[in-house]
Amino acid sequence: GAGVSQTPSNKVTEKGKYVELRCDPISGHTALYWYRQSLGQGPEFLIYFQGTGAADDSGLPNDRFFAVRPEGSVSTLKIQRTERGDSAVYLCASSLGAGVQETQYFGPGTRLLVL
């Protein structure tokens, strides 16, 4: 079956621009997570959705970052006034539920480069 998909796979933008990154979770998965992976590091948590609501956004680095999931399926991560330090791979993961037994399945990521 289809896994988690993310678009675009690569995004190059200029400092100060606005970008949107999209995540399509596995069908029926209610929990959705965004992570950011900088070069040479492990992924770091950004935000978690249960259904339509952001249940935990404690990982968002500042108010330039925002994410939505209006219908409880597709999610969009939005970054305003991009900075060179935002360059990273942005990963999305989904799980059937939020329980501790649930496995998080990851998408291939969006590689963002801010020039």
Binding site: F45, G107, P108
Partner: protein, 114 residues
């Protein structure tokens, strides 16, 4: 707070020899522990997970890991390396609490030579 330390940033082995990737964790509560693998240009894939059941956990592709509470370790092993095992491996900890995020180590790059 939860954290993981992967003790080696890079491990090199020959094909057919054993693999050992070391991980120590820190957690205030009884955690869930995972190993994920990331092949170049591919998404993260779950290798195995420990969630307070059997301490010796078997995963895919012949990998296994043992949870040792006394040593706060969760080392990943495989008896015989294959060329296709070359990848980045992440040790991951999670609170045993619904909806919590995964906390990743910095990763270990495994190289396999013929």
């Amino acid at each position: 707070a939860q954290s993981v330390t992967q003790l080696d940033s890079h491990v090199s082995v020959s094909e057919g020899t054993p693999v050992l990737l070391r991980c120590n964790y820190s957690s205030s509560y009884s955690p869930s522990l995972f190993w994920y693998v990331q092949h170049p240009n591919k998404g993260l894939q779950l290798l195995l997970k420990y969630t307070s059941a059997a301490t010796l956990v078997k995963g895919i592709n012949g990998f296994e890991a043992e949870f040792k509470k006394s040593e706060t370790s969760f080392h990943l092993t495989k008896p015989s390396a294959h060329m296709s095992d070359a990848a980045e491996y992440f040790c991951v900890v999670r609170l045993n609490q619904a909806g919590t995020a995964l906390i990743f180590g910095k990763g270990t790059t495994l190289s396999v030579s013929s």
